[in-house]
Symmetry: C2
Subunit: 356 residues, 2 copies
């Protein structure tokens, strides 16, 4: 008989399921990426429909000269979730990700965490699913072609979500760095998508019913200018997501119906930071729940000014919790002290002393 170094191994209550990056990738491959994107869209849609039942607060940001670290909490009264996410545009120069993230889901009744997960991949997935969800409500019916402006880390996910959820068949790529476009096209070579790399953004938007912008420069860029946006188009603007970082010329905003996640946050971080604080916008959840109208006719320009919101992460964590229970792809993490007697934390420590 061996003598354990700790008197009592941690009980189930002390163990939090942890989904690593490797587990997340295995989960995606086991379920299939298109199915994951469709599932996530459904979970996000369900949560947007019950939007008023969530505790909402703008993210808690800690800014520095080189980037930002944010905590994004929310709760539906039953579960509590938050995401840790950074944004450091210069990181790529050192071979690091611009954005990394992890998140946690907890039980409101006990305060005990029930899931810890990597969220760099999961954020890319939920961002793409949210875009596809918005496009399903806002893009012209029967859209088949999307222009993808900015072909970085998020681009393939955006494209595949639009394919999985909307049935998009044609993709037109543009990036200031042609190497990024080649990488994107190559990654998607085995899809059934018809993909074309374009030399200019003007060329990329030709014939596209949906224009997705997802560029990374932290400045007031003009990725799209007014003359590039024809009537009836849906713009899915992803890249403008912090003060001083926008992608669209203001002229476009003035002739668009604008849809946002959470106005309090979008007016600070989104494209509409260029507009007056009282410029009319529609909250996406109201369209999804039927309280507001989305696209009104075939000639309107609709704009989803997306900055990402905590409820989308909550939906993603909720989905992952359900999936993890089925797949078993997680590591039980000894993260919570769980003494036999809750009043006897010291006793637990004492009994863990190495035997002399």
């Amino acid at each position: 008989m061996t003598i354990p170094t700790t008197a009592t191994p941690p009980s189930d209550k002390a163990l939090v399921p942890f989904v690593s990056v490797d587990h997340m990738m295995q989960i995606v491959h086991q379920i299939g990426l298109a199915q994951v994107l469709r599932d996530l869209t459904r979970y996000i849609e369900d949560d947007f429909k019950r939007w008023p039942s969530f505790d909402k607060t703008p993210r808690v940001a800690s800014h520095s000269d080189v980037g930002v670290i944010e905590l994004m909490p929310t709760s539906d009264g039953e579960s509590y979730g938050f995401k840790y996410v950074n944004g450091h545009p210069r990181n790529t120069a050192d071979g690091l990700q611009t954005v990394t993230a992890f998140g946690l889901l907890a039980d409101v009744a006990t305060g005990y965490p029930v899931l810890l997960s990597e969220m760099t991949l999961l954020t890319a997935l939920r961002t793409a699913a949210t875009s596809a969800l918005a496009a399903r409500y806002l893009a012209p019916k029967g859209s088949t072609c999307m222009a993808m402006i900015g072909n970085g880390a998020q681009s393939e996910f955006q494209i595949l979500a639009m394919q999985a959820v909307l049935g998009i068949t044609h993709i037109r790529l543009y990036d200031t760095d042609p190497e990024s476009s080649r990488k994107c096209a190559e990654n998607l070579a085995q899809s059934t998508l018809n993909i074309r790399i374009c030399d200019t953004p003007q060329d990329a938007v030709q014939g596209a019913q949906i224009i997705t912008t997802c560029t990374a420069d932290k400045r007031n860029a003009r990725v799209l200018t007014d003359n590039m946006v024809g009537s009836g188009v849906h713009i899915n603007a992803i890249g403008g997501d912090c003060p001083g970082k926008t992608e669209l010329a203001a002229d476009i905003l003035h002739r668009s119906e604008i849809f946002v996640e959470y106005p309090e946050q979008t007016r600070i971080e989104g494209e509409i930071q260029q507009l007056t604080p009282d410029h009319p916008v529609t909250e996406l959840w109201q369209v999804i729940s039927g309280a507001a109208t989305g696209r009104q006719n075939d000639r309107h320009v609709t704009l989803f000014d997306s900055v990402g919101f905590a409820i989308e992460d909550f939906s993603a964590l909720r989905y992952l919790r359900d999936v993890v229970a089925q797949t078993g792809l997680f590591l039980p993490l000894d993260m919570l002290a769980d003494p036999d007697d809750p009043k006897d934390l010291y006793g637990m420590l004492k009994r863990a002393a190495p035997k002399p």
Copy 2:
């Protein structure tokens, strides 16, 4: 040669050191609890001395009928730390901890996490170290006897910190539940402390230069009444830490010199929620940095109205990071996606597909 299921194992950049509850206990036993408490006191003291260099914000709380979940972030411009902590008084009835916690330290320059740790034990340790630090500046010189009112999960740590840092030799225990006092006395039986269990709080405070209150009921309790507090005493009030939860009769507050961590938070959560918002208090960091006077004479009653602040957790995480590097007692956690090319997150996912 075996074919790995993922094309590339995660690089060092993707791995975050994680300190489990078991690792934390091993670390404490390896270094020695008294030494850990002294070390933590020094780290907290160092950070209190440079208090103005920290980003400070009241904790971000999500309240429910049965408890609260909080995020406590702070940054010194070089490192960023936050703690997740819950408070659920009714948890003990179900064999769960009232308070569980975990925390994270990150590099401000890159936004990358550098340490994830359990913090239920670490919070107990840092709370005790903070109390001892405050008492070193505020308690009468040569204090030898402490009354410990409330003998729950925090009590042994409070007592051992006062012994390790101040040289306290005599302890007088009181709890409404005598079983808790017996547990506490038994846990400390092998210490060199002279310990006495008392039948009443009046009895417990007899001859004590330091009175520590650490009770758990969520209500405006009167653990200490005015007649129980003689001149020259230092009160270390730990248990009042949220709106509606206090331990001291207001009379005591009116004849005490009051010291707090962060007034913006203590006025909401501490004993001083009973006083007018302009009642004078002194910030502990000012005493420690020499900018304000602590105890002025032998007859004054000093009160450390402690609610716990993010900088104490930051100090504890900073200490743990230094210790973990020496002891190697951690688990490398595959928490951050780290593609070879930061722009090619999808490529990383694709290459992780199971081989057909």
